[in-house]
């Protein structure tokens, strides 16, 4: 994954490794913020959330720890003259937000279309530096105590085939399900 990121344009990578399993976004954010304090940057880009725990917390937390503005769930980003203008997707539309730099942003799906790295880029990426650091995470305040399967949803009934099924469907939605 890191090599892929290097192939797609990153110049160097830092991998923070932790001995213990700790998925508390607060602990993870403190480790990332701590590392970033020794780097210079104008823009920090995060994904809006991880696709495992779906917490959607780290981008905002890191930015608050570093005391930089953070615009979340962006679908558009323009940077010029030391300022950024982003569009963040919200219910029913988008809000246009202008911010000073340095700033951080969390990406919504539409921000860019990830491309494939070329073979040449993949080869070049192998020569780029990856710094590996071991970090101690702050003990978690959020603890997973159980993992369950969601209750199953059983199949309902096939009302019928084609246009002929429509009157029966409306009757069922009205009289049985009572949703119309």
């Amino acid at each position: 994954m890191i090599v892929k990121a290097l192939a797609l344009g990153a110049d160097k990578a830092v991998l923070l490794k932790s001995e213990e399993t700790n998925s508390d976004p607060g602990s993870i954010s403190r480790a990332i913020a701590n590392e970033l304090k020794s780097h210079e940057f104008d823009v920090l880009l995060f994904g809006k959330k991880g696709v495992d725990d779906d917490n959607q917390q780290v981008g905002q937390m890191v930015s608050e720890l570093l005391d930089i503005p953070c615009v979340t769930q962006i679908v558009k980003l323009d940077i010029s003259d030391g300022r950024a203008v982003a569009q963040r997707e919200v219910e029913g539309g988008a809000i246009v937000v202008e911010t000073s730099l340095p700033a951080s942003f969390t990406a919504e799906k539409d921000l860019t279309i990830p491309r494939y790295a070329s073979l040449r880029e993949l080869v070049a990426a192998r020569k780029k530096p990856i710094v590996v650091k071991t970090v101690q995470l702050q003990p978690p305040s959020l603890e997973v105590i159980s993992v369950q399967n969601p209750p199953p949803r059983s199949p309902g009934k096939i009302v019928g085939k084609g246009v002929e099924a429509v009157p029966a469907l409306i009757r069922l939605l009205h009289e049985e399900a009572k949703v119309i």
Partner: protein
């Protein structure tokens, strides 16, 4: 000492969102269990006359920041106000709806208050005085129970999961005005832009007509728009149709799109892949229209019609129009 329950009551254009009433209702339930007061935090514009609405759902007190500059969500302003209120009061629990605003704001509070946050919860409970939240993870494939071991314990609530219910007794909440410093913003929320016609968001709609790959192309969504109009619903889309460029990403229901739980979800030409399923499985009633009788969607839809969407949907629109004419 157990502190109060503080609930962020989100508003839009001078009206509290439905998800705000859901959060206030759940906050009231927790406050009753803890035998403490419930405080509501309202940030926005034109809310001065609306604070009694929050009392109806159980808030004892409303902390109000009302200013034209708070019409659109500005993270710097909202964080400053919410943090100030959280520090001046002594909440044991802070709740917000898991909307774009709530999900942006809550982690900022958590990190400043040195506490943890359970995101997008579907159920809240206590275990030996600590907040235990149920929340979907791995795109809804599992339900996690997480314990928030620090105070104030923060949780965001998935919209449409908790039911907004007027409290008994209803209250006329005391209102305390919260000041904020406008200079302290590095960002400007400049304007709200809509995608085409202004419409209800998918997460707030009670009827969703969704189209998938089976719609064949962007022009064919017109038949879904027509049905949606008759039923007072909005049109959603599957990932396949969004990836094909037929519909905007804001219409996407599923893992990388919106998670919805309307009263009625009508899936048209959608196969029902896992990544779509997780975004709509909590709908009250699911109807599937698909010409493929083997489509996975029939395995979890309440009512299925096997047939061509281009024949069934227009017929449904006609008959719905007649139905709504009579009822």
């Amino acid at each position: 000492m157990t502190g109060e329950v503080l609930v962020f009551a989100e508003s839009s254009a001078g009206t509290f969102r439905k998800s705000a009433y859901e959060a206030i209702t759940e906050g009231r339930r927790l406050a009753d269990l803890l035998k403490v007061d419930e405080y509501a935090l309202a940030i926005g514009t034109g809310l001065r006359e609306k604070t009694n609405e929050l009392g109806k759902y159980g808030a004892n007190k409303v902390l109000l920041a009302d200013d034209p500059s708070l019409e659109l969500f500005n993270a710097d302003y909202f964080r400053q106000i919410a943090l100030d209120v959280a520090r001046r009061t002594s909440p044991s629990i802070i709740l917000a709806a898991a909307t774009s605003t709530g999900k942006d704001l809550a982690p900022r509070l958590a990190v400043h208050l040195n506490t943890a946050l359970a995101s997008e919860c579907t159920h809240l409970d206590f275990d030996s005085g600590q907040l235990v939240a149920t929340r979907p993870a791995y795109a809804g494939k599992v339900l996690l129970k997480v314990k928030v071991k620090s105070k104030p314990s923060i949780a965001t609530l998935r919209p449409n999961v908790f039911t907004a219910k007027e409290a008994s007794p209803q209250r006329t909440p005391a209102v305390e005005v919260v000041e904020f410093k406008k200079a302290n913003s590095r960002m400007v929320a400049k304007e709200f832009v809509t995608h085409g016609s202004k419409k209800l968001d998918l997460t707030e709609a009670s009827v969703i007509i969704s189209g998938g790959r089976g719609m064949g192309g962007p022009q064919n969504y017109r038949i879904l728009e027509e049905l949606a109009e008759v039923m007072g619903g909005v049109v959603g889309a599957s990932r396949a149709s969004v990836d094909a460029g037929w519909r905007p990403h804001s219409d996407q229901v599923g893992q990388t799109g919106r998670t919805v739980s309307p009263t009625l979800y009508i899936a048209c030409g959608i196969s029902g892949a896992i990544q779509h399923r997780v975004g709509m499985i909590n709908s009250k009633v699911i109807v599937a229209i698909n010409k493929d009788p083997e489509a996975p969607i029939f395995g979890f839809a309440d009512y299925g019609v096997i047939g061509d969407v281009f024949e069934v949907v227009p017929a449904l629109t006609r008959e719905m129009k007649e139905f709504y004419g009579k009822n």
